[in-house]
């Protein structure tokens, strides 16, 4: 008798678990019936890439506070449910499933780390959740129904860097790229773009963002002495150490950085005077901002003690604003309906560029999104060359 009672308990528990799990997977907006609208945020606010997630969180918070101050979405105030995946793929997918099935959010912003983003994207279609990734790799989202990006592709960033150098007369180049998926794509893209624009890429070296000594990479570049050095960063303070090392090794030519080298919070502080010698191709025109960019930058500085928003912060801000516009337009607050609205939205908030999604392209804007910027004494300035 006792054995049967035990078996019945197991069966009942399993049935309950199955029914709960079924409830979760069939959702995608069940929390939309209340007075608030839950939105998931999945990013890395701690761990090796914690700086990336914290920059993104600042942009998300500002966008949500502006939207809620303006009355919310369809009369509902946004409530963020955040998961810190620590930059780990396993924690990212676990976090996605929690947000989709336990919290039943119809929309998830993030992550901003390539590996986690690639692992999460198929889940968005499976669970019927709209996801706006903060990475710059359209191949991750193209072919999905519910996943979109706002960041201009890394390929476009690379091409903008090479085109800028070619326009300035560079014929020979060297590349130092961060040894992570983002940087590895940078190597491929810079190599291809160099061929396209007639620049001879004479050397390429990787660097490990978790290290701090880049004397060898910098020395190789200084010895090769090309017309231009391309630096592909990792979005952290070590980007500045690499730049400093290249100048300390005696290289006196042009340095063109990817968008990571436009981060005001780290590059001038860490690289010192070397920061004033790099031109970064970035999606926010810090050196000569438009009215919309000025409005955003001023609002961010006001909310964050004078801090200037990084480009990663800007992507996250645009992602939330775009998602909010899609939710207003959508026929319901179900994840799949939000995705349909998003694809036909053609959103352009005056920052980053127009999101011209099609059924086969869900990536961010192209090469025109990137503008050159430099620092002068630690603040943004027009390009130094």
């Amino acid at each position: 008798m006792r054995r049967w009672r035990g078996l019945a308990t197991v069966v009942a528990t399993a049935a309950l678990a199955l029914s709960l799990s079924a409830c979760g997977s069939s959702s995608g907006g069940s929390k939309a019936g209340g007075s608030t609208l839950d939105i998931g945020v999945l990013n890395s606010t701690t761990g090796n890439l914690g700086a990336v997630g914290q920059q993104e969180a600042q942009g998300i918070d500002l966008a949500v506070s502006e939207i809620n101050a303006a009355g919310g979405i369809k009369g509902k105030k946004i409530k963020l449910i955040s998961v810190d995946d620590q930059g780990s793929v396993s924690q990212s997918t676990a976090g996605f499933k929690k947000l989709a099935t336990t919290d039943n959010v119809p929309l998830i912003i993030g992550p901003g780390i390539s590996a986690g983003a690639a692992a999460d994207a198929p889940l968005a279609d499976r669970y019927g959740v709209t996801q706006v990734l903060l990475v710059a790799q359209p191949k991750v989202v193209n072919g999905t129904k519910n996943v979109f990006e706002v960041a201009p592709p890394g390929t476009a960033n690379s091409e903008a860097m090479v085109k800028y150098a070619a326009d300035k007369g560079a014929k020979t180049a060297a590349l130092i790229w961060a040894n992570n998926p983002y940087g590895q794509e940078g190597l491929t893209d810079i190599t291809a773009a160099s061929k396209k624009y007639g620049i001879s890429l004479e050397s390429q070296n990787s660097w490990d963002p978790a290290q701090f000594n880049f004397t060898a990479q910098a020395g190789k570049v200084a010895s090769a002495n090309p017309d231009v050095v391309f630096l592909y960063g990792a979005g952290g303070s070590s980007d500045g150490l690499l730049l400093k090392a290249v100048r300390a090794a005696g290289y006196k030519g042009k340095i063109v950085g990817d968008l990571a080298y436009s981060t005001a919070a780290t590059i001038p502080k860490v690289a010192g005077p070397a920061a004033d010698t790099v031109v970064s191709l970035t999606a926010v025109n810090y050196g000569n901002p438009t009215a919309a960019e000025t409005k955003f930058i001023d609002a961010f500085k006001s909310a964050n003690g004078g801090q200037v928003p990084s480009v990663l912060t800007t992507y996250a801000y645009v992602a939330v604003k775009m998602a909010a516009a899609a939710m207003e337009k959508a026929s319901s607050l179900k994840g799949t309906d939000i995705a349909k609205a998003l694809q036909s939205l053609n959103y352009d908030g005056g920052l980053v560029g127009k999101m011209a999604y099609t059924s086969s392209y869900h990536g961010g804007p192209g090469i025109a999104a990137f503008k050159p910027v430099s620092f002068k004494n630690g603040v943004y300035a027009p390009p130094v060359f």
């Binding site: 701690t46 761990g47 620590q86 701090f212 952290g236 780290t266 860490v270």
Partner: protein, 290 residues
Amino acid sequence: MQVLNLLVSGLTLGAIYALVALGFHLVFKMTGIIDFAQGDKVVIGALIGLTLVQRGISVVAVVVVIVLAVGLVLGVLYDLIAILPTQRNGEIAAIAATVGMTLVFANGHQIVWGPDAEPFPSIVSGNFAVGSVEISYQSVVIWGVLAVVAVWLALVLQRTRLGRGMIASATDRMAATSVGVNVSRNRSLAFALAFGLAAVAGVLVAPFTLAGGGGLGTALTLKGFTAAVLGGLDSTQGVVVGGLLLGVIESELALWLPNSSVDPVVFGVLIVILMVMPNGLFGLGRQRRA
């Protein structure tokens, strides 16, 4: 020319590894425990130093003294919180606790100080030239501190009653207790010294590594432990030589190999060395033969 520049850079890098490796050595020799939080303690020390600098203490030598004192106290607390509760379950439990502490430190410091690494002032700024090679004064300070700490540690461990008592505690706790050695006090002292050393190392190396940042503690732990194993975890001079060798080999190899190949080659060579000399270059086997 570049080989010489990389030699100097490698000696500085190696000295940083050696300072971390000395922490591994000190704890292992005095307690029998391998403390995998050693690299993160370096980061914590640098961040405490950064806070002091930001609060207006401009003389870095004064910062070093305060950080040493704070590190010693933190070491006692570290022993009380993380190590003492594991003592009935053997050394493996204690080692597992240190691994847990790496996560506490690595994530905790990002919550307190933020995820971005910050620049840190040198004790002595500027460079001097030897021929065509530029050497920073801060590198000389690090080499000097490494030499002083290594000699002091070797003397304490080999020539003093306290050091011999600590080694006895680590070797056979029951026997040491039976002859009047206070094992608990010695263990607490060992962790205090190790944390103090790591904290001071943090302030010294931060001008090169920056203070804080996500992956620095893990990187220092990995390289410091490798240096200690290479030289011989049991030998003070061994861990110093191991650290310096590792730094120089890494730097010079980076001149000839792609950066992504350097660590695999270094660790491959380490495996071969350990197959031939399981206790490291200066390990127990060599000591016995000597």
